[in-house]
Subunit: 203 residues, 2 copies
């Protein structure tokens, strides 16, 4: 390393801080960028440098956005009756690839006492207020992760909504075998959930 140009060392060091990029990958990426036309490094560098500048949270759904309220919250073609609760902005990216046409509420994480994240650190109060404020919302799909934290958050949320006396149908996104997956390799928890969630063929 000591003989490497400092500019390469710096790129390797900063890339190495990213999740899933070890020292070897960082080296390969840095040298790849050196071999490519200078413009490619400049475009990537500028994009990352200015990443934060125009981004804020939507004050309605707390997704990341450049305009407030965000494009989804202001989209009149969305089904106003359907609201989907997710943990992270990235989750909305995954759901936007589906047929789902409702709106979102991004909690900003899940309840995790071990990480010091309680209900107060999440956008839970804002969700309850949004539900009270917006009578158009008829169904709340809880799509927190199928993890311990995600389940705890889903339960907590359910309780809060009931206590607030809100007349809203609460649903949970289905858990079961992933498509293309192999029953043989599925873990017991997934299989148990898949069994519990079994549906009758309509006859």
């Amino acid at each position: 390393m000591r003989h490497l140009p400092k500019s390469i060392q710096r790129v390797m060091e900063e890339l190495g801080k990213l999740p899933g990029i070890g020292p070897k990958s960082a080296g390969r990426l840095a040298f790849y960028l050196v071999k490519r036309p200078r413009e490619q490094a400049e475009l990537l560098g500028d994009a990352i440098r200015h990443l934060h500048e125009t981004i804020r949270f939507c004050s309605t759904c707390f997704n990341l956005t450049e305009a407030d309220p965000c494009l989804i919250c202001t989209d009149q073609h969305r089904d106003a009756a359907l609201l989907c609760v997710v943990e992270q902005p990235l989750d909305t990216v995954a759901l936007e690839k589906t047929e789902f046409n409702g709106r979102y509420h991004v909690l900003g994480g899940a309840i995790s006492p071990i990480d010091g994240i309680g209900p107060a650190q999440l956008r839970l109060r804002e969700l309850i207020e949004r539900l009270k404020r917006d009578p158009a919302i008829k169904e709340l799909v809880i799509a927190t992760n199928p993890s311990l934290e995600g389940e705890a958050t889903a339960l907590y949320l359910q309780k809060q909504i009931t206590e607030a006396g809100l007349k809203i149908q609460i649903t949970r996104i289905a858990h079961g075998l992933p498509m293309g997956g192999d029953l043989e390799y599925a873990d017991a928890v997934t299989l148990t959930r898949a069994m519990e969630g079994r549906r009758a063929y309509s006859s």
Copy 2:
């Protein structure tokens, strides 16, 4: 994607051009950077943006450097008798982690007619000239990759040096079983090479 802030889309797009980073990884990395303090994105962005600015090729060994000649070529503690030929600058990074204490010559690739890379596209002529110019060099270790292209380049180089009438010992870096590897999983070519390269225990 269409609902994502443009700044995030741009980072995902540019990251996705890097080798080994697919659309999903690009998304994860971009959102990771959004969650981290703004300074981290700025440091990474600046490092990448300015990567090319101070880098050039060493006019002696053709490694990447900020000073010409490079730190290795000017290092008087190096063994002047030993020169190691590699394909890429990144190869010197790997070799610098070993006990090797000679100098390098970076070819800039390997002969690969299918990619339009012939001897003229590599720093082969410069190597021959360097060998003629520098009588201190006694041994040339050819450390091109153990691939079809690397082997072809090694052979070509050997022939060129003989034709030039240079009295230099030419060696090839050893091929065999990687340390920690499992004989059972080694491919036939590696095993053949490992057998051919077997050495007697000194008795």
